[in-house]
């Protein structure tokens, strides 16, 4: 008869992103050994781990939203420009236009509007999600540049201070707590709710989804709105940390986000993947860049190695899927 629980090992390796997790552990071990010799730095310390989390928060937050979009088989290339637009607007709301702490809800509102625009175009008019979000990316990026010209973009309010430098229980920085909260919410949404499970169905087989009574248009539009909200939260966290915004802050960050999601085992074709996998993905990138600075590698080596690792991870994923039957 059917066993209920798989063996824990088989369960672990069936999780998306498990291969990358092992690679991450190996990488951390290597750097922890090599770093003291090269630069004398201690890599694997609590403060450094927290630091990696802190630096990756805004990529991680957007990656959660992007995971749901990709699970439905679509993509959102406009997150970079959305992040830029919302960081700039948040600074304007709080400072130049004098809304103070009201800037936060207003930024979330902008996030919902951008998400809705993408959602209506992609699922409403059924346009190709790649080209449409490329178009909206140009539009949002242009708006950020046009809106900002001539204003100093400071964001100095008590609330921003708390978000930027506050610590919870003296151990974990506030932005990291926000990141963990967003991860928990989206992991719950994807894994434990009807809406989330339906996203997998839409991504795996949109025709069959229709036969099980899923109106996929509504679900896909919601994922884009959620993605917009993630960009807003990320913008607030980014602004709180850097206290100043400029209209190129999100430049081509969408590539890092997509990289994190795909490294986490989410398939670009849809129907496969998890938010936890994405967490591993963006941690991998965070520890990678932190590790590289420990080994005094510079920016260009990181990009080249990151590109190669992505190709290898994808090839391995394809090979295991072919061998795994489906």
């Amino acid at each position: 008869m059917t066993k209920d629980k798989q063996s824990p090992l088989r369960w672990f390796f069936s999780l998306s992103g498990s291969g990358v997790f092992v690679a991450l552990l190996v990488f951390i071990a290597l750097v922890s050994i090599a770093a003291p010799r090269v630069t004398g730095g201690q890599f694997f310390t609590w403060s450094n781990i927290i630091q990696v989390f802190r630096q990756q928060t805004y990529i991680g937050i957007i990656a959660c939203g992007m995971t749901l979009v990709i699970i439905t088989g679509n993509i959102d290339l406009s997150v970079g420009s959305q992040l830029t637009l919302m960081t700039v607007l948040c600074a304007q709301f709080s400072n130049a236009w004098g809304f103070g702490n009201w800037a936060l809800p207003l930024t979330l509102l902008v996030g919902v509007t951008c998400g809705l625009t993408n959602g209506l175009l992609v699922s409403g008019l059924k346009l190709n999600s790649f080209i449409t979000t490329l178009g909206t990316s140009s539009i949002f990026g242009a708006l950020a540049l046009i809106l900002v010209s001539g204003h100093t973009l400071r964001a100095k309010t008590a609330l921003f201070d708390v978000i930027g430098t506050g610590m919870v229980l003296g151990l974990i920085p506030v932005p990291v707590v926000i990141l963990l909260a967003v991860v928990a919410v989206f992991a719950f949404l994807a894994g434990r709710t009807v809406f989330g499970q339906r996203l997998y169905a839409i991504g795996a087989n949109p025709v069959a989804a229709r036969f099980t009574g899923i109106k996929s248009r509504r679900e896909v539009a919601i994922t884009y709105v959620l993605n917009g909200i993630c960009c807003a939260i990320a913008a607030i966290v980014l602004l709180a940390r850097s206290e100043s915004a400029n209209p190129q802050i999100g430049g081509s960050k969408e590539m890092d986000v997509i990289l994190a999601v795909v490294l986490g085992g989410t398939s670009i074709l849809g129907g496969k993947g998890s938010v936890w996998g994405t967490v591993i993905g963006f941690l991998f990138i965070g520890f990678m860049s932190s590790g590289f600075s420990f080994l005094a590698f510079s920016q260009y080596t990181q990009w080249v190695i990151m590109g190669v690792i992505l190709l290898v991870a994808l090839a391995a994923d394809l090979y295991s899927e072919k061998r795994g039957g489906v």
Binding site: K126, A142, I146, V304, L311
Partner: protein
């Protein structure tokens, strides 16, 4: 190049008459009725509308040209600049269009071109000979294209993610060389590089610069190859219905692979033009060129799903983008407006394409 513009008008009318001819539509069909052939007799209004739709990119081009000429001051004096700048960046879009026709995409074209420029400069610096530098630049482009082609067609990784990965690799290599500012060969070699291709103007007309002539030749040869050789025709079949192609014994992956190689080669050529035009290779030559190329292709009329779009479409797309950019400059508007208008146009073209898509719903 003005000849090309007249050509479009001539060809457009001829084709317009063609599709209007009668064709009898089938009777009852399973599932949604396929788009029946044009009704035998066609009202003039309907014929114009159909013509407008099937050639919407040409219409947008004509509208922009007319608008810019009358409403933007001194635009009419800048036709040659538009054409010259189009030739500098055009090759990237032409290369990308080949890949898109076979149903794939390439997000790394921007930095393939920048890599080409870097190789031209580095090789001519090391060997002291400019021609060798140019050849190596083209070769570097072809190698990048081959890498993308192999990863997509042999390993089977989806084109979007594969080229995001390769974009990181090329960006890293370009940044390694140009992180301390622009790189350029020394002394008279730099003069040679600067005055090589982009400054040789036939008969002194900027519109007839060597780069423009080369691009015109490239466009003509590719159009010829795509139309008249099996090698080129297979690009369309690979994009339109790969299954039908396979059944007819066509090696589809091979066609898609060569599309990537040709795209890389043309990006290398664009790199050579960039290096010669500014006499140096610099990091920003790579930034943002892929969005320009994709927009030019899609607005020009290359279908994202593949199988449709000629060199004429690419030419129109590139000219549209250049008219917008140069027009904005002459109107002293911030460059952000260029992104805004091209973003809006991209979505408008998608909507029109959706409304008039010829593809029958699969039964």
């Amino acid at each position: 190049m003005m000849r090309a513009v007249k050509d479009t008008a001539a060809k457009v009318d001829a084709a317009g008459k063609e599709t209007g001819a009668a064709g009898w539509s089938g009777g009852a069909q399973k599932g949604a009725a396929a788009l029946g052939g044009a009704a035998a007799q066609k009202g003039f209004g309907r014929a114009v509308r159909d013509f407008l739709f099937s050639y919407n990119s040409a219409v947008i081009f004509a509208a922009l040209l007319v608008f810019a000429t009358f409403f933007v001051n001194k635009f009419s004096r800048n036709y040659s600049t538009v054409i010259f700048d189009a030739s500098i960046y055009g090759c990237i879009a032409i290369g990308l269009s080949l890949v898109m026709v076979t149903g794939n995409i390439d997000l790394s074209v921007g930095f393939q071109a920048a890599l080409g420029a870097v190789v031209v400069v580095q090789v001519s610096k090391l060997t002291g000979s400019l021609p060798l530098g140019v050849i190596c630049g083209l070769a570097a482009g072809a190698v990048c294209g081959a890498l993308n082609g192999a990863v997509v067609t042999r390993v089977g990784i989806s084109p979007l993610i594969a080229t995001i990965a390769s974009n990181y690799i090329f960006k890293g290599i370009v940044y390694y060389f140009t992180k301390n500012g622009s790189i350029y060969p020394e002394g008279e070699l730099r003069e040679a590089l600067k005055n090589s291709i982009s400054k040789l103007w036939l008969g002194g007309f900027k519109a007839l610069a060597l780069t423009v002539v080369i691009v015109a030749v490239v466009l003509a040869t590719l159009a010829f190859i795509m139309r008249n050789t099996d090698f080129g025709n297979n690009f369309y079949i690979a994009g339109d219905n790969a299954e039908a192609g396979k059944l007819a014994g066509i090696n589809i992956p091979r066609a898609q692979f060569f599309a990537y190689v040709l795209c890389g080669l043309l990006c290398g050529l664009a790199g050579v033009f960039l290096a010669s035009n500014s006499g140096a290779a610099v990091y920003t030559q790579g930034e943002g060129r892929d969005v320009f190329a994709i927009s030019a292709c899609v607005i020009g009329g290359i279908k994202m799903a593949g199988g449709k779009g000629t060199m004429l479409n690419v030419l129109i797309g590139i000219l549209i983008m250049r008219i917008i950019s140069t027009g904005m400059n002459l109107m002293l508007l911030p460059s952000a407006w260029v992104d805004f208008v091209s973003g809006v146009l991209l979505i408008v073209v998608l909507v029109i394409d959706k409304v008039t898509s010829v593809k029958t719903e699969d039964a």
